[in-house]
């Protein structure tokens, strides 16, 4: 059995209250006493029991990252990057991180909400209903990569990213540019697509032949869609993929059609994931600092839990174009 606070109390000759203070608020006990406590604790290999502490304090020092998205989830580099950022920030402040991607979130919620976590970060397409569920249970909520009124949100500057991309293509003389959009997270699709239309409109550019095109989110269907898009007579001279996977599909399609890259076709990706460097030619892409998004989301959440009231309702993380050989 593990040593308890009583054992330490007995061995060190002070009360449990003092032992407790020595560990949770050292300033409140005199140095000499504190030393006695620590010595006894060391002898007994005492480690405060986090469960008991959580029980007494009504706080668990745990937060959760819940990815509301169908299919592969944490596997997605984007969500994994956010997860990584959250994890680092949480651990640094002695918070533990629970991760879940349960698709049937009703289930997850009931397990999470039985007071096991202090707060939750919702990634992906979180339904408003879910948010209020948590809030009604007094669990703090922060959204990442999504927006909802009344909840602190951390998002990337999608509009800026798309704009930079379009700008570069325009600069390089492209006039017919298409966007190939996959069935990504609805928020992302909406943002990137409307930003694309806006950026194109501003410059009076035509939205390629066939305009924007939808496809699934995998390479195969992106490749098929791209083949279709590029076969037309007035084919675009540049294609903007809504993410890197889609852009990779475009590259494959271009290769199959014997188009030279970037001479015959410029390709631009989004997310700046690790594949960019692996592709030939290397893919120009809009970089999103996922880790930072995660870090900020975690920071906001922890600030909420600390009772800080000046949490900005919206935090926008800048995006940045990484120009490589594909344009």
């Amino acid at each position: 059995m593990n040593a308890t606070i009583y054992d330490v109390s007995r061995l060190s000759g002070v009360s449990t209250a003092t032992v407790s203070r020595a560990f949770s608020d050292p300033e409140r006990v005199r140095p000499a006493t504190r030393r006695k406590v620590y010595e006894a604790a060391a002898v007994l290999h005492y480690q405060p029991n986090a469960i008991a502490r959580a029980m007494a304090r009504q706080r668990t020092d745990k937060i959760a990252y819940l990815i509301c998205k169908k299919g592969a989830t944490i596997l997605d580099e984007f969500y994994a990057g956010i997860c990584d950022g959250i994890m680092r920030t949480a651990n640094r402040s002695d918070y533990q991180l629970l991760v879940s991607t349960e698709e049937d979130w009703r289930l997850t919620v009931s397990t999470l909400q039985s007071k096991q976590i202090d707060g939750v970060i919702l990634g992906g397409d979180a339904p408003a209903e879910l948010v209020s569920q948590f809030q009604s249970q007094n669990v703090a909520v922060v959204l990442v990569n999504n927006r909802l009124a009344g909840v602190p949100c951390v998002v990337a500057d999608e509009e800026g990213g798309v704009r930079q991309g379009v700008e570069l293509l325009a600069q390089r003389g492209h006039r017919r540019i298409s966007m190939l959009v996959g069935r990504l997270n609805p928020y992302v699709v909406r943002e990137r697509y409307s930003a694309f239309l806006a950026a194109m409109g501003e410059r009076g550019l035509s939205v390629g032949a066939g305009g924007a095109r939808m496809c699934d989110a995998d390479v195969e269907s992106a490749t098929a869609a791209a083949l279709d898009l590029l076969k037309g007579k007035d084919r675009p001279t540049a294609v903007f993929g809504a993410n890197d996977v889609i852009a990779a599909g475009v590259i494959k399609a271009a290769r199959r059609l014997g188009l030279r890259l970037p001479e015959d076709l410029a390709v631009m990706g989004y997310d700046d994931s690790t594949v960019c460097a692996m592709l030939e030619p290397e893919l120009t892409s809009v970089h999103i600092d996922c880790r930072q998004m995660g870090e900020l989301a975690a920071a906001r959440l922890m600030a909420l839990l600390d009772g800080q009231s000046d949490i900005p309702p919206l935090t926008v993380v800048p995006t940045q174009l990484r120009v490589r050989r594909s344009v």
Copy 2:
């Protein structure tokens, strides 16, 4: 404030013991009583407090996945896949999953071990010392993608995977085959590399010009190493990358040297990650079912926690060659 078991007890007119039983072991209370309890609970929106329960039962129903690896961790598709498998399995059995990749594991351990988790799955290069730390704290341990005597381990059949790869290359007439090894997890490097030498030896094949070559784990350094490897006079006709990222580097190098793929050079990867389909030509690779590894690891851990004693000390997940156009 949330309703407690006392509130339910009062409203339903039964003792707290009965309420407790109605929730944790329904069979032990008569149907009529049970109904009364559930009704009262519904009225009060009662949800058993998991912390209190953990305290009383000395069990938290939480497990942790700790990735012992430097640098990007969960970001690695391989570890993310395992994580996904663990998550699914854990959630299905009402376990919660804590994830951490703290590099300074001493820190993490102390936070984890204060009785906050029932068991832990260690991924990456877990030091034996760490394992015994957990065990001495009565925390069950399972290793994934690593081996250590006395601890249940779940690994992939690396030897079989490498063998299949070499076999295919030999079949296609390759005689000079090199392996390009990156600074991956030591266990993986050891397994794959020795399996490679063994498989080559068995067939009396020569280990390409320059034999196996080391590089860092990123595309750039793999590309550089591959350029070097392929420039020689007796260059290998096939290169086996120790993982897909490295193989991607080989492809890039080949392209730069004007080699045709797969005619002039066959390239083989390992892990069958999502990039395989994005590369041109698509990369032949050894598929590892990471999710299954995670699922099995979680299952083993939960079996341990259930007190089952027939846990196999080693579980080997089969690997399978996915043949694509790069060979």
